[in-house]
Each structure stands twice: as structure tokens, then as C-alpha cells.
């Protein structure tokens, strides 16, 4: 049984071949948005993705979110953007249709942070992502 602690859960890609034939290291945020139906809110989405971190406590995110991770969070303040920049996250994914303000979107654009959203839970998004990365 796959268990994820929603406060702190991290999945990291192994770099193996995916069913679609594209290597994990070549999967970009934009690719994932297209494949999983995520809404690309802003940003180029061109960073490659190797894993995922779920968490809302910013210090924990900074300590544990890896470079090239998709960070799934319910935080929508400007501080979320600052942490995404410092942690070098590939993108921030807001689950459950969470709304983000225009001001924060502008701030994300200014800081070159890719924001995406989805209608599912963080757990479902992480499981789908893990599937796309060939990890499960």
C-alpha cells in the first residue's frame, strides 16, 4: 500500500525509462500539465521534473524540497513564491482547485516561478505524477 504523509512526503524519480519512451529526466512541468490535465497558471513550465514534495510548513519545504521537485502546497502567499525560488523547485502545484491571487501570480512571473493548479487532492496529484515519472 502506498502511504504518503501529507505534511512531508517526497518522491524522487529514478531516471528509468517510462512507458511512453521519454526518460524521466526529460519530463518538464509543461509535459506533465498536458498529460495530467493540470492548469499551467503562469511560467514557462520548461524545467525538468524529477520528483515531488508535499508540505505547507515553509521551513520544512526549504529543508526537504529538492531541486527539480514539483512542490505541492496549499500555501498561496508571496512567501510561497520566495520559498519556491530559494528551493529551486521545478514548479508549485496548488491542489484542490485552490485559488491564487493576481498579485501572487504577478510576483511568480517576476521571479520566474512556474505555478500550476489541479482539481484533485495532493495525494492524487502525487500518485499521478509518480506514475508519469515511472516510479509506480
Amino acid at each position: 500500500m502506498l502511504k504518503l504523509r501529507l505534511d512531508e512526503a517526497r518522491l524522487t524519480g529514478s531516471g528509468g525509462e517510462r512507458a511512453a519512451g521519454k526518460r524521466v529526466s526529460e519530463m518538464t512541468v509543461k509535459d506533465l500539465c498536458g498529460r495530467l490535465g493540470w492548469n499551467l497558471i503562469c511560467g514557462s513550465g520548461e524545467k525538468e521534473v524529477s520528483g515531488c514534495y508535499i508540505g505547507d510548513l515553509l521551513s520544512r519545504v526549504m529543508g526537504n524540497c529538492g531541486e527539480s521537485d514539483i512542490w505541492i502546497t496549499v500555501q498561496t502567499s508571496r512567501n510561497m513564491i520566495a520559498v519556491a525560488v530559494l528551493a529551486d523547485a521545478a514548479a508549485v502545484l496548488l491542489p484542490e482547485g485552490i485559488h491564487v491571487s493576481e498579485e501572487v501570480i504577478r510576483w511568480a512571473e517576476q521571479e520566474d516561478v512556474t505555478l500550476a493548479g489541479c482539481g484533485t487532492s495532493a495525494f492524487s496529484a502525487a500518485v499521478s505524477l509518480a506514475g508519469e515519472l515511472g516510479m509506480i
Partner: protein
């Protein structure tokens, strides 16, 4: 890079919206100077945690960085309430952050532990009622 480069930023009390600007600015400088990604990440995280600590606990303060070829030294100085028990403050999960700070995702009790983890050397000088100065050294 022969000379030492110095930058200083003012960190404002209770201003969560601009917290992180000093860290982001320092990160850009280090990128331009060509430091390794891991060094930049450690410096950025230590600096941001320090900034946030000053915003939450210390009525703001001054953040400065000295960048040389072989090390980055960050000094975070405030005139806040000081830390009564440094050992407790260093313990992961211990936090005295306000409800407002917690509602914004802070107050995980990981600030000083994260700074220590990112540092090669961390010096904490603090006096209750006088203030706190952190000196963080990260070797390049």
C-alpha cells in the same frame, strides 16, 4: 574574484510580504559570480530563515553578506528580545511564532536547525532584552 564583496539589507518587522527579498537578491549575486548550485542553495536557505526570524521575532534588523572566493559570511543582527534558551531554540519543532506567522506557513520550529544544517559554522550571540546576532559561514 580577488576582493571581498559586501551587501547589506534592512529587514522590516512584521513585513511578511517583503521577507525573502534579501535572500533572493543575494542568490542572484551568487549566481552571477558563478558559485556552485549547492552553495547558493545553502546560503539562500540560511539567509531566508534568518530574515524570517527577524520578521517574526525581532522587530526586524540588518542582514549583511560578505562574499569572497572561498566563503560567504552572513551576519544577521537585531535588537529584538534575545533568545532565553538557545539550546531549546535549536531543537527541531520548538517554536514561539505567533498564530499569524503560523497561518502563513512559518513557525515549524525549523528555522535555526535549518540554518545550522546549511552552515559550515554558526555563531549565535544573544542577550535577553538586548538582541541577537547570528554569524553564518558557508565555505565555497
Amino acid at each position: 574574484m580577488a576582493e571581498v564583496i559586501r551587501h547589506t539589507w534592512q529587514v522590516l518587522a512584521d513585513d511578511y510580504s517583503t521577507a525573502g527579498e534579501a535572500s533572493a537578491s543575494l542568490k542572484k549575486v551568487l549566481k552571477q559570480l558563478g558559485f556552485a548550485a549547492d552553495i547558493i542553495r545553502r546560503v539562500s536557505i540560511a539567509m531566508y530563515e534568518g530574515e524570517i526570524n527577524m520578521v517574526i521575532h525581532a522587530n526586524g534588523g540588518t542582514a549583511s553578506a560578505e562574499i569572497s572566493e572561498d566563503r560567504i559570511t552572513i551576519t544577521l543582527a537585531d535588537s529584538g528580545p534575545g533568545i532565553p534558551d538557545v539550546g531549546l531554540a535549536m531543537k527541531e519543532g520548538y517554536s514561539t511564532a505567533s498564530d499569524r506567522a503560523r497561518s502563513l506557513g512559518f513557525g515549524a520550529g525549523m528555522g535555526l536547525p535549518n540554518i545550522k544544517r546549511c552552515s559550515d559554522d554558526l555563531k549565535i550571540e544573544t542577550e535577553v532584552g538586548v538582541g541577537t546576532t547570528l554569524t553564518i559561514t558557508i565555505l565555497a
